[in-house]
Symmetry: C2
Subunit: 258 residues, 2 copies
């Protein structure tokens, strides 16, 4: 069933109102009729089944039929920190990792970031990325839209690391840890906790096309990051995050086997 | 170090000759000098370190310095069977899954395939896909270029299933198997075999945008396929194969933890 993220203030006790692009989508693309149903989410704690009672001048009014259980959010909150890649690769990262269940995205700048960071364009780019995240979240039937942060400097990123329970710093070290060496013990420990304690925050850090410098690796490790290899094949920067994320979801029980 | 796939007939006992686009890449893009080194692979069993001894009229002649061990190929041979998706999504599937270590690709047609299959365009499309696979294999430092087969009909695909040791048929069934329920026991069994017996063939089957019909699911299961869910979030068709492949590589020891 079609799913729309709607600002919380458009929900009342018994109704939800859809405006703008989503209303146009319901009316023109879906060619909905009164009586048709869809799912509306406030992007946080509320998912409802809604039935259209009125469509007028680009505004859709729907009756809340029932509140739905939120089943599609991952137990582990994974944030993707991606050094700004070239072209439209950040869009690929955001779309694919949103489908795979990422909780939020932190673009950042590091020594070998090639992209020219332009603060004036920042707002427009953030809007575009947020739209991609919203659409991917709707399409993958999620209950939350991942948050996309403003781009951080390397120093700001380092300062933020202490908020995470596990930091997979994607970097191939000779004889270093591989992903499973890092994620498997973490998942085991997580499973031994009580249900209330099982929420955990994981950060995946991915470098730019040219990789991290040795100094950056040392600085990140000094703040609690674990250098983590992703196998013997060299992945492109935009492939690394989705690979690590898929495997972390797999290992923490999001794809069965528990 | 830069890596090029070169037809086997261009290798002699002591030299390798590079022509065409790769030669132009060495001369113009890399601006190589005599004495510079690169890696040449025949795409099958031979990887060599080569030193440029002559560059003339678009032909690069290099001396074979040493034969290299092939370390980047996966133990498990995974084939991706993808129902032809819209737009350039097949290119994304081929590029990303080549990086992740896929052995081959089988495009196919199923009931809900939207793309108009055009046999006249087939050859050109295959060439383009093969080029993407070759470039992704070079870039990810692989020793083999995945084979891309001609598109199969649904019946042909069904008939081919018996060649595989495990068939993950990506399909979300109510209370059905999830990926880890299927892959973990398979990987355990594989590890208990002797080293010589550890090669295995796995097939990941992914449907088109509209999914498989129930009849297709039944037919595939009748031929030994296992319906396999990829978690509670709905993945786009082009995200499914790379997700399943990443997790299979992870579970079979390609990212440590063994």
């Amino acid at each position: 069933m079609q799913r729309y993220f709607v600002p919380a203030e458009q929900f009342s006790e018994q109704q939800v109102i859809i405006t703008g692009e989503d209303a146009r989508h319901i009316i023109r693309v879906m060619r909905s009729q009164e009586g048709d149903e869809f799912i509306a989410c406030d992007g946080k704690q509320l998912d409802v089944l809604a039935e259209i009672i009125n469509m007028d001048e680009g505004i859709v009014t729907a009756r809340i039929v029932e509140r739905l259980e939120q089943l599609s959010e991952a137990r582990v909150q994974v944030t993707i920190a991606q050094s700004l890649p070239k072209g439209d690769k950040m869009e690929t990262v955001i779309q694919k990792c949103t489908e795979l269940g990422a909780a939020s995205f932190v673009p950042f700048l590091s020594k070998r970031t090639v992209v020219q960071y332009d603060a004036r364009k920042e707002e427009k780019r953030l809007q575009r990325w947020s739209k991609i995240a919203k659409e991917a979240a709707e399409q993958s039937h999620r209950s939350r839209v991942p948050q996309i942060e403003h781009a951080l400097t390397w120093k700001q990123l380092l300062a933020s690391l202490e908020a995470y329970d596990l930091i997979c710093f994607c970097y191939e070290k000779e004889n270093g840890h591989q992903l499973r060496d890092v994620v498997q013990p973490f998942a085991r420990e997580l499973n031994e906790r009580t249900a209330q304690e099982q929420s955990a925050r994981v950060l995946i850090v991915v470098g730019p096309e040219g990789g991290f410098t040795e100094q950056e690796v040392e600085e990140a490790e000094g703040r609690g990051a674990t250098s983590t290899g992703l196998g013997r094949r060299i992945l492109r920067t935009e492939t690394a995050a989705m690979t690590a994320l898929a495997c972390i979801m797999y290992e923490t029980g999001e794809m069965g086997g528990m």
